[in-house]
């Protein structure tokens, strides 16, 4: 890793890491959003006989008609490496980004980023249960809690994405 760091230069190395973290976060954000929509607003079955090749007419209806459990594994697979990469990039944030933020008095940005480390940790701890609740066949006794856990994860990921993006705009890729 040090050899790669020396080869591309320290600044580029951290920017590459941050970029991968960003790409994973975008994928995670899209997946959890679709999952939340499919879990909270599933498309109701139309009355009568429906042809087997029936496809809902508009985009929103198609999103709602996807079985919610299709997204679960992708969310878990993306959340963990995004978390680990974020934990790694966090080292650079602490020295290279946060100190200048404090020096020019961006205290609110520092505060919301501090909260991000807590909320992503809480989300990480819910992943095993989230995965279990959405396993096939779906257990009816977990019908409510699995929707709420999905929503909690969606809030976690949206918050982290927005705050991370704000910090990146202060001093990061393209800033």
């Amino acid at each position: 890793m040090d050899a790669f760091n020396d080869f591309v230069g320290s600044s580029t190395f951290w920017r590459i890491l941050l970029f991968f973290h960003f790409v994973m976060a975008v994928g995670l954000l899209a997946t959890i959003t679709l999952h939340t929509v499919a879990a909270w607003a599933p498309l109701q079955q139309p009355a009568g006989n429906v042809p087997a090749d029936f496809v809902p007419a508009n985009f929103v209806a198609r999103v709602r008609s996807v079985p919610p459990m299709s997204y679960v594994l992708i969310v878990v697979i993306l959340y963990v490496p995004a978390f680990l990469l974020g934990s790694w990039v966090y080292v650079k944030y602490r020295t290279y980004v946060r100190i200048p933020m404090e020096q020019i008095g961006h205290w609110k940005t520092v505060g919301v980023f501090e909260f991000k480390e807590h909320i992503v940790s809480m989300g990480l701890a819910l992943l095993p249960a989230y995965w279990y609740f959405w396993r096939q066949p779906l257990a009816p006794e977990y019908a409510t809690i699995r929707k709420w856990v999905t929503l909690f994860l969606a809030v976690t990921i949206w918050y982290s994405f927005l705050v991370g993006h704000t910090a990146n705009d202060f001093r990061g890729v393209g800033a």
Binding site: P46, K92, K108, F115, A125, L138, A139
Partner: protein, 207 residues
Amino acid sequence: MTQTLDARERLPDTTASHAVKSPTQSASTAETGTTDKFAVFAITFAIAFAILYTQLERLNWPFFTYHPAVGKVDFWMHPARSGEGPPMYWYGWLALSIPGAAILGWAATLLSLRALLRTTVFACSLFVLWSAIYACWAFMDERTKFDTDLLKSIAWMSGIPAVVAAGALSYFVPIRWAERSWTSWMLITPIVGLIILGYSLKTYFLR
């Protein structure tokens, strides 16, 4: 696609009696399989992590302190040293709370259903009540003209009514209610934890 979705969603309703067993059902019939033990582990892990993480952060008890500017690691909590840049405690809190929650999650799989539910009610209500009582204590402390150092030194006493109330709750609460609310604690504890942690950051927003 709609039919497929509905068929998948309906499956558990018609086959639930033999295809899906909740962890509590299986525990009560002493037929706990690997999957159900995993559910007990996963739910307890989520609850325990939220409580442990919040407490470790508030007490500032990291397993280690990382000094990123000099790449140095110290065991337990070390304040910033001159010339070594800012310390990072977050990794240290995670390094304690993740294995701690995993051990508690594993231990939960060894408990009987009744013990598991009562222990969960006790731990979670203690966490919520102690936090609430301590918040009231701190609120009064901010507005009082008494000796604040004395109040701080006896702040641990706010735990006594919380322990008593949590003990009474876990003893008297009907086991059916404890069973129904079991998974809800999984969301209540992180939300309470985030409220506490969020409130502790208020200084950043009041400058």
